[in-house]
């Protein structure tokens, strides 16, 4: 049978962002694949060196629109460690609350995108309708649906109002019911399972060798979550489970993300009920003393790492960002090998790509 190379991207209905795949097929079976990144490379790391620490908070929020809050959280944590600054507990609580909201919104967004790619538009519509509840709650807290600008070095800039807390405590149970309905669909619907079970398999050994993080790794059995293993903010005072599965396919990744959403709703309840009173931010000096720090946090897609080196001036000497999508992208050629051409759309969507994060 003839061998062909099929290009996917940079503009393609499957892809929300520019990314280029070249898939080598023989008939319907994928033999090899290669990918080309760099379409969204904006040179942010170099740009950060010519701006002050405070201006960089605004810049790093725009590395990625979906996981904007976790980027600024990790960055601010790093700079606060260099300054030796202690953030007041209420500020940390508000940061954690938005981190968990962001996790919920990102997972629902991903579920919609996956379902659209495999042809199940109804799940897309339902997931994004439920996502609007989370976006409204985030808008109540910060004033913005997608870009919050709530982190600052030293804490957060906006406090929670009592009426917002009340409305959140009313909306969270409704959201929980809707997520449970979606889990029912994923666990029992035969069409969804036919498109996702056994597809895109990664073993635990592969996950360790490629240093994969996040739900993709947890779906293959790797028990790693920075919130529990190296707690930041005030996660050490909260109790939550980290769901792990061993099937390693797209179905497992989908279920893991929805189980994590339930854990996040539970965490939001705990944060709102145990909210401490007091200040929300400490004053931070403009100049950061010389030093180096590695700051880690658990974003919706996995471990986000920031390395910040300061030389004593108002601008950072070097900021290095490592986002979790990069670790998932390196496994794609392995996942695609031997699969049918019709499953390519599910596999590409199954790793929760955020090319803006990967390219920076």
């Amino acid at each position: 049978m003839a061998k062909m190379t099929i290009p996917i991207g940079p503009q393609h209905p499957l892809l929300k962002e520019p990314l280029s795949f070249l898939i080598g097929v023989e008939g319907e079976q994928v033999l090899s694949s290669s990918l080309r990144l760099g379409y969204v490379h904006r040179g942010i790391e170099r740009l950060a060196e010519s701006r002050t620490y405070i201006q960089n908070v605004h810049l790093f929020e725009r590395v990625c629109g979906i996981c904007s809050h976790i980027h600024t959280t990790t960055y601010c944590q790093g700079v606060e460690a260099l300054l030796g600054l202690e953030v007041p507990p209420r500020g940390l609580d508000i940061r954690m609350l938005l981190c968990e909201f962001e996790r919920i919104h990102s997972h629902l967004l991903w579920l919609g995108v996956l379902s659209k790619n495999i042809g199940l538009d109804t799940i897309f519509m339902y997931a994004w309708r439920d996502r609007e509840i989370v976006l409204q709650m985030m808008e109540d807290v910060s004033g913005g649906r997608v870009s919050h600008a709530i982190n600052m070095i030293g804490g957060v800039r906006k406090d929670l109002e009592p009426e917002h807390i009340e409305s959140m405590l009313m909306k969270l149970p409704e959201l929980l019911n809707r997520i449970r309905e979606l889990i029912q669909v994923l666990e029992h619907d035969r069409t969804f399972q036919a498109r996702t079970r056994g597809i895109g398999y990664l073993s635990l050994e592969d996950v360790k060798r490629f240093c994969v993080v996040g739900p993709v790794a947890r779906a293959s059995g790797l028990n790693m979550d920075i919130r529990r293993d190296q707690p930041y903010a005030r996660y050490s005072g909260l109790s939550f489970d980290v769901p792990i599965m061993h099937e390693g396919d797209i179905w497992a990744r989908a279920l893991i993300r929805l189980y994590e959403t339930i854990q996040s709703i539970n965490l939001c309840h705990q944060i709102l009920e145990k909210l401490t009173s007091g200040e929300i931010a400490s004053t931070a000096p403009r100049k950061v003393p010389p030093g180096e720090v590695v700051s880690r946090a658990e974003g919706p897609r996995g471990e986000v790492v920031y390395f910040i080196k300061s030389d004593g001036s108002q601008n950072p000497f070097r900021v290095k960002i490592r986002t979790p999508t990069l670790t998932a992208l390196i496994t794609l050629p392995k996942q695609l090998k031997g699969m049918q051409l019709a499953d390519v759309s599910a596999i590409i969507a199954g790793v929760d790509l955020c090319i803006a994060c990967a390219d920076r």
């Binding site: 929300k16 969204v40 490379h41 904006r42 519509m125």
Partner: protein, 142 residues
């Protein structure tokens, strides 16, 4: 033939199909654009469909500052859209380069590469602003 022209113009105005292309953006404006398809904002009631092929589209909606790698592809996609076509530049990054202006890898705004018909500022722009933009563009179409 005036009747044909009027009918075509009416058809374009009542049912413009958009092609969405992300030319290097952070995704913020893209997810607000995709929210328009969802039950809360529902742009299909205006006849607007999100198309996937450049040959089927009337309006090119672009987000993101134009990076060096994406610029030739963006121009090629624009050329593949049949006339008449319009370009909407969504978000501050695609208008002027936004927060990334001065970076070594971006041109800074879609206007450096394509002729733009409508600019929608915002970082990111709200879905209501996008609906307003498309409706204002349609009012110009005659």
């Amino acid at each position: 033939m005036a009747f044909m022209d009027r009918t075509l113009s009416w058809a374009r105005k009542k049912s413009p199909w958009i092609l969405h292309f992300n030319s290097g953006g952070c995704n913020g404006c893209d997810i607000e654009l995709l929210s328009l398809l969802t039950p809360m904002y529902d742009i299909e009631r205006f006849g607007i469909l999100n198309e996937s092929s450049p040959r089927h589209a009337d309006i090119l909606v672009c987000t993101g500052p134009v990076t060096a790698q994406v610029a030739p592809r963006l121009l090629r996609i624009y050329e593949q859209i049949p006339e008449p076509k319009w370009v909407i530049s969504l978000g501050s990054c695609s208008c002027t380069g936004g927060v990334f202006s001065g970076a070594y890898n971006i041109y800074g705004g879609i206007e450096k590469v394509l002729p733009v018909d409508l600019y929608v500022p915002g970082c990111p722009c709200r879905p209501e602003a996008i609906i307003n933009a498309v409706i204002s563009l349609l009012e110009k179409v005659e």
